[in-house]
């Protein structure tokens, strides 16, 4: 099996572009939420989202391209014949709205998930390799990374460019509003007793994954290794998570067994899914107790959605980058807006303030509708 390493990343959130923007916002514990001006929020229960402040979102394809350019440059990477391009996206929904409004100059192809992957592949000269979009909503880009790890570890490819994108727009905002899933007061309080739901946030990120051998051959420098990955499902409900976090624990278990650490004894930090919804947070807490057993109280867990908002298809890859920064900087990002403990959420959630820590290994979790769960284990290099 080939070792899978990360050699570069590019990222944009509501805090702006690049790692320093994440350090200021996510690690600073400063939420990015404000009333969005991208569309009329009058019909909805909340006006809040974490956006970059522009009245109209950029084209998804452009932001994906910019983040990928940054990732490739950081890695010193040139696409190879076998480079896979795997993107977590459901397509550009802002373009969907414009299409049905009958606006001129709209390219309907931008609404097709796979087209985003093809465009990205063409941009970096990787059109001869696998090009796929993963459309599993909130685990989409994590699923892309997991697939890339399988391809690289098995020797099928030596590199993959994985991305994810969601930019706040009205289509999805309206759906989450109708599902009464969003916080009405502009705060996202994961794991707190008074949590009132999630808020959406802009997120786009790209990571370059390669086999360690290929990186050695070209004289590159790994930032971290991906030593474990896994997915699992709840088999419980079309939208609610299993109350005991069964699928999440199954996904984490697969990832940890692959990382040769079945009990998670070497995990120093967990970047949780942590949506601040009524059902997710206690389920995730119970799932983590299943994973870590009696050690669960000693493992710091945080939800960075408290600052970035929920970036849907991009959540997996942006939080992968945040976890990578936790490893390289030796700092745990906090769960912002933490107020009072919920008896059903009783772990160490790194409340409100970042914490210095020697983080060698970290577990990155995501979950989605349908009881779909993913887990990735990163190791410092």
């Amino acid at each position: 099996m080939s070792e899978v390493v990360v050699t570069g990343f590019g990222v944009r959130t509501a805090f702006g572009r690049g790692a320093d923007a994440l350090r200021r916002g996510v690690f600073g514990g400063v939420p990015a939420f404000a009333p969005t001006t991208r569309f009329d929020t009058g019909p909805y229960r909340t006006p809040f989202a974490a956006t970059t402040g522009t009245d109209k979102p950029d084209l998804m394809r452009d932001v994906l391209g910019e983040c990928t350019d940054e990732a490739v440059e950081m890695a010193g990477f040139t696409a190879r014949d076998d480079t896979a391009v795997l993107v977590g996206t459901s397509g550009d929904f802002a373009v969907l709205t414009r299409f049905w409004r009958g606006e001129a100059g709209v390219e309907a192809a931008d609404t097709v998930p796979a087209w985003q992957a093809d465009l990205l592949a063409a941009r970096i000269g990787a059109s001869s390799g696998r090009r796929l979009a993963f459309t599993n909503a909130c685990v989409a880009s994590a699923a892309a990374i997991i697939h890339a790890c399988g391809l690289i570890a098995s020797g099928r490819v030596s590199s993959a460019v994985c991305a994810g994108a969601y930019l706040v727009e009205e289509e999805v905002f309206a759906k989450f509003d109708s599902g009464r899933a969003m916080s009405r007061d502009g705060f996202v309080r994961p794991f707190s007793a008074d949590r009132g739901g999630m808020l959406l946030g802009d997120g786009v990120a790209t990571v370059v994954l390669e086999s360690a051998e290929a990186v050695r051959r070209r004289g590159g420098r790994p930032l971290a290794a991906v030593v474990g990955w896994g997915a699992g499902s709840d088999a419980y409900h079309v939208s609610r998570p299993h109350p005991d976090g069964a699928g999440l624990a199954a996904a984490a278990g697969r990832a940890l067994r692959r990382a040769d650490d079945p009990d998670g004894l070497r995990i120093d930090y967990v970047n949780a899914h942590g949506t601040a919804t009524k059902f997710n947070d206690p389920a995730e807490t119970r799932g983590l107790r299943r994973v870590f057993g009696t050690r669960a109280d000693q493992v710091p867990v945080s939800s960075t959605k408290s600052t970035t908002g929920h970036m849907l298809e991009a959540a997996g890859v942006v939080e992968f980058v945040i976890t990578l920064l936790a490893l390289t900087d030796g700092v745990l990002p906090p769960t912002a807006n933490f107020t009072e403990a919920d008896p059903d959420c009783d772990l160490d959630y790194v409340p409100n303030v970042a914490r210095d820590a020697d983080v060698r290994r970290a577990l990155n979790l995501n979950a989605a509708f349908g009881g779909v769960n993913t887990a990735l284990v990163l190791e410092r290099r």
Binding site: T135, E171, G371
Partner: protein, 181 residues
């Protein structure tokens, strides 16, 4: 292959044939060949996805109508994957993906990668496309792709003994059109 008018309805999934099609072909495979759900993965592929639900929701939004909470739940294929996983006790990975061309080959290739995992024995892969809307017609024109003429789904249950080469790398559209080469 199942077409929309032959797919049994699924409670709650009423706005589009996408989800009933997936459920119908999945049920047929998993009923005929029951197995260990803990060692089974579900993989759904569609170039466009559920254009029925997506475009309906968008037109409602443009028309100023209140969004239907059912469309929230059904906005992704995850919901029907979760439904199938509950019905058949499947706790392995659930994946939804999109490829612009060669979707059938991409599904088989991805299933092969999944089966590298010693904790999995079987992958149910489903290809599904809808005839679509003005939007799907528009992007098919833009990209020079053929537009499906009807809603259909195809499923294939592969296990550890089925290699990609054994399956012939079939494109699901070719599978759907009749006898395979």
């Amino acid at each position: 292959m199942i077409t929309a008018n032959r797919a049994d309805p699924v409670p709650g999934f009423v706005e589009s044939s996408f989800n009933p099609l997936i459920h119908d072909v999945a049920r047929r495979c998993l009923t005929e060949r029951p197995g260990d759900g803990t060692r089974t993965a579900l993989l759904v592929g569609s170039t466009v996805g559920d254009s029925g639900t997506t475009d309906l929701a968008s037109r409602l939004l443009i028309g100023g109508q209140v969004s239907n909470p059912l469309l929230f739940m059904q906005a992704t294929a995850n919901a029907i994957l979760g439904y199938v996983s509950k019905e058949f006790g499947i706790t392995g990975p659930l994946i939804a993906m999109s490829a612009l061309t060669g979707l059938g080959s991409a599904l088989l290739d991805t299933a092969h990668v999944l089966l590298d995992d010693e904790e999995l024995d079987r992958v149910l892969l489903v290809g599904v496309e809808l005839a679509g809307s003005d939007r799907t017609a528009a992007f098919c024109r833009e990209l020079g792709l053929p537009q499906p003429t009807e809603d259909f789904a195809v499923a294939l249950l592969v296990d550890r003994d089925t290699s990609f080469e054994d399956s012939g790398g079939y494109d699901l559209r070719r599978l759907a059109e009749g006898p395979t080469p």
